[in-house]
């Protein structure tokens, strides 16, 4: 069996498990016998995330370079990072309100990755073009997609907060804390990715910063999330208002995600 099939199988299985985890997260958040639903949801997410991470490892190994040359390659990195973000949110704030949107989004990403892998055929070793081949590249790949996964989970958690906060203030508060925690976790990783990109640009172009679309959108996402942390955590903005800001940053997150691959670098 070729490695391509294994990737597709792992991603499909991962997508299925993540969908199940997302579906189970709904009763885990609202009905009785929560421990059962919670454990089922969590373990589905864990196993699904591991399956996606294994597919990502196979992809990385097979390509002989980090999969960051195109968005279709990068989907492999994004799905496990989003799952990691959700598991962190759940562990930190005990909030499962964001489980359905985050895990379903991760499942959609994994499924899209599986379809792309199946249509593109087998993996062919393809080292990066000259200039991209240096030590900063794996650091950039790992940090960028880990940060984008966690921050994407934070944005979806914020959307979940906005939905549940009016219905149940206690649940809403947990959801808000989870979103804040995810931002606090993801923001330093985003900074690392920007620094790795700067180091890479210095090696390749001879300048640390170049105002390319990749750099601009990452910087915009960083600025908005920094503003969120400043206003929410230290300047004591009302939780609902600041969470609106975080939920709206999902658009910028998508722009940063689209421009993160290095195809045109």
């Amino acid at each position: 069996m070729g490695s391509c099939d294994l990737r597709v199988i792992l991603l499909s299985a991962g997508a299925g498990l993540l969908t199940m985890g997302g579906a189970l997260a709904v009763p885990a958040a609202i009905v009785k016998w929560r421990p059962l639903w919670r454990r089922a949801s969590r373990w589905s997410a864990v196993v699904g995330g591991l399956a996606c991470a294994s597919a990502c490892a196979i992809q990385w190994w097979g390509l002989e370079r980090p999969p960051v040359m195109s968005l279709s390659e990068s989907l492999f990195l994004l799905a496990p990072a989003m799952v990691l973000g959700y598991l962190f949110i759940e562990g930190l704030s005990k909030s499962r309100e964001g489980g359905a949107p985050i895990l379903l989004a991760a499942a959609g990403t994994a499924l899209l990755g599986a379809v792309t892998a199946a249509s593109q055929g087998p993996l062919l070793a393809d080292p990066p073009p000259p200039g991209l081949d240096n030590l900063w590249l794996p650091v950039y790949a790992a940090a960028t997609f880990l940060a984008l996964g966690i921050l994407g989970a934070a944005g979806l958690q914020a959307a979940a907060f906005l939905m549940v906060e009016r219905v149940s203030p206690a649940r809403g508060e947990r959801a808000g804390r989870g979103a804040l925690g995810a931002v606090c976790l993801g923001l330093p990783v985003l900074i690392w990715s920007m620094l790795a990109a700067a180091g890479w640009a210095q090696e390749v172009r001879g300048t640390l910063w170049g105002w390319s679309s990749r750099e601009v959108w990452t910087l915009v996402l960083f600025l908005v999330l920094s503003a969120y942390v400043c206003l929410r955590h230290v300047a004591h903005w009302p939780e609902r208002r600041s969470t609106w800001l975080l939920a709206a940053s999902v658009v910028l997150w998508a722009a940063a995600l689209v421009h993160a691959p290095l195809a045109g670098a």
Binding site: P128, A170, A227, V234
Partner: protein, 699 residues
Amino acid sequence: MNDAAQGDRTNETSLPLPPLTGGHKPVRGRVTFPLACATAVCVALAALVLQNLWENFRPLLDEAREGTGLVPMVALCGAALVAALVVAGLLLRRIKRLLTSLRMTGAALLTLALLLTAGGLVGPQGPLALTGPAAEAKSRPRKGESRKAGGDKAAALVRVAHLEDPGSSWAVLALAGFLALGSAAGILWRRPVGGREFGFLAAHLGLLILLGGLVAGHILGQTVYARLIPGATPTAVPLRPDREPDFRLRLVRTETERRPPAVRILATRKDAEAPPRALPLDVRSRASIVWQDLGVSVVDFRESAVPEIYVEKTPGRGAVPAVKIALSGPQGSQEVVLPVGGTLNGSSAPMGLALAYEKYTEAQDAASACRREEELQPYRLTVLQPDGQPRDSVDIPAGRRCTGSQILLADVGVLLQVVRSFRAKPGSDAPLAPGEPAEDAELVLELAPTGPGAAPAAVFQVRSGGKAAEPSGKVPPELSGMKLALDTVPAQPGARLVEGPAGTFALVEIDDGAPVQSLPMSVGEEAKLARGIRFKLVESIPAALAAYRPAAGPSPRASQPAVQLEVRSTSGSSSKFWIFPGLSGPRDVGGVLFSAELLPRAPERKAAVLEVIGENGPLGEHQLVMGRPLQLQGWRLNLSELRGADRPEGSQATAALVVIRRDPGLWPAYVGMILLAIGAPWLLWTRLRRVPEMTRRGS
């Protein structure tokens, strides 16, 4: 910080916990968020106005002098200056509060993000990139010029604010400077000491040092963009009229390393309408799979081989007539087998003689084939960069095998397929009518991208005609802006063997695409052709299976990848055969068609060997590899591009573009990066530990 300190005065060294619900009661003198937003917007607007005034000061002065005179302008400027001083004085009274306010920081961050978003949307790489009238608009709109579209107005605004290049926008720089001042004020007035404040101190100090390094590099650094040409006078670094340069650079040679092509195996059922499916077979690792009850394994893979056509004298499905030909001449002798409809040309032409074999059942068709003008030499498609430098070139099979053939432009990174080929008059898109004179007709190829990720229905035309031109039609993005030249001038003599009814043969000698002479032939007979080559028809094979295999032994002409597959059925029978992607057609094995395609590969390693010449003579040679900077006497050299090194002949590049920088702010910037990389997680993750505690408190 100030807002925080007002929230919790008892704990000045650590930031207070956020409230569980709502905000704080308004405190007198505190910077409110609307005020902070207004201040940030004012800072950006003031910078924007100043930048435009600065850039247009001379024309404005001239206009004022010619029109109303200087007095009104001086009065206006004076009034603006007084107003600005009053506002600045008011701001300065509360500067400490402003700079240390986190609401102010948040507002400045959001304003800066908004400006960059606008630039990112409308900038050159953005989804709403400036096109149409706004793209050509000057920074000051002309009098009477109307812009109906709101998008164009927004684009013009973005242009006025210089946001399409945020690094040159004073508004962006002013807000960044404001934020840097805020960080400095935070460090200065908060005086963070102790382990709990290390994160705050490291992150803000790192940010300041990083920004300071970037600014120092911008102001004190030097950049030389050198275009090094082989054989040209050495380039001085830096170029100074008053002082001797540090050193001179001369391009000795360029080095390129090509990557072997990638091959993908495709399979489909003969009776199925579905497109061929890519098999998960890595040809390099000699992998094996089971596909639809067939065991498929890669037996051999050659990155470059010379295809040699051969026939298996096995009648049955797919069998065709073939001939065995012996050639002898000054270069030696060679025997080849040629199936009907086949052509040996280009690198596979035996002894440099292009050969074709055709068979007709009607005598008039055979006679017509003897008179037909058709090149046997492959066409050559050359891709030229906008500056006229060749980028890539590839051979396309001539004649009947042209349509459907695949072309891999590896250096450009695109795989094309010939959709249609025909001859047309210059300037006309209509194919020549039968019988129409074809003296000045041009060859027209319709090409379309193929392979994974290819744009659907993107067909474009390329014409012969002696000069390169931009192709017409929907050109794939990889070829955008490039010129294509289609060369059809044959440089190889050839012969066409035409078999008529009742086993009669005629050998047509072809030169420059036109038949020179037609000689009747029979099996065992010999004829003399150009360059002293003797042609002998050895055998006529009525039914045979034609296929390609790599020629025995290494050859300097080897260029074609080849894959040998073995297919085993459940009944135990097996079939072993070679596939040449883009050359041989699909192979039918038990009702399943196997074929192969080439995939575009990333470009190769590129390097330039430079000779460094000091004041007292040559200092030695250095290899500058693309992506790996070279340190030289305090200068940092980066190879930006090698022009003309992508030609298939592997010839030397025509120029090397090298960026040479001396950046005194680089090491401070690295120190700032390290501090920021440590301080940011320290600052935020130490807060993270308190989140569950707050959650418990809330519940």
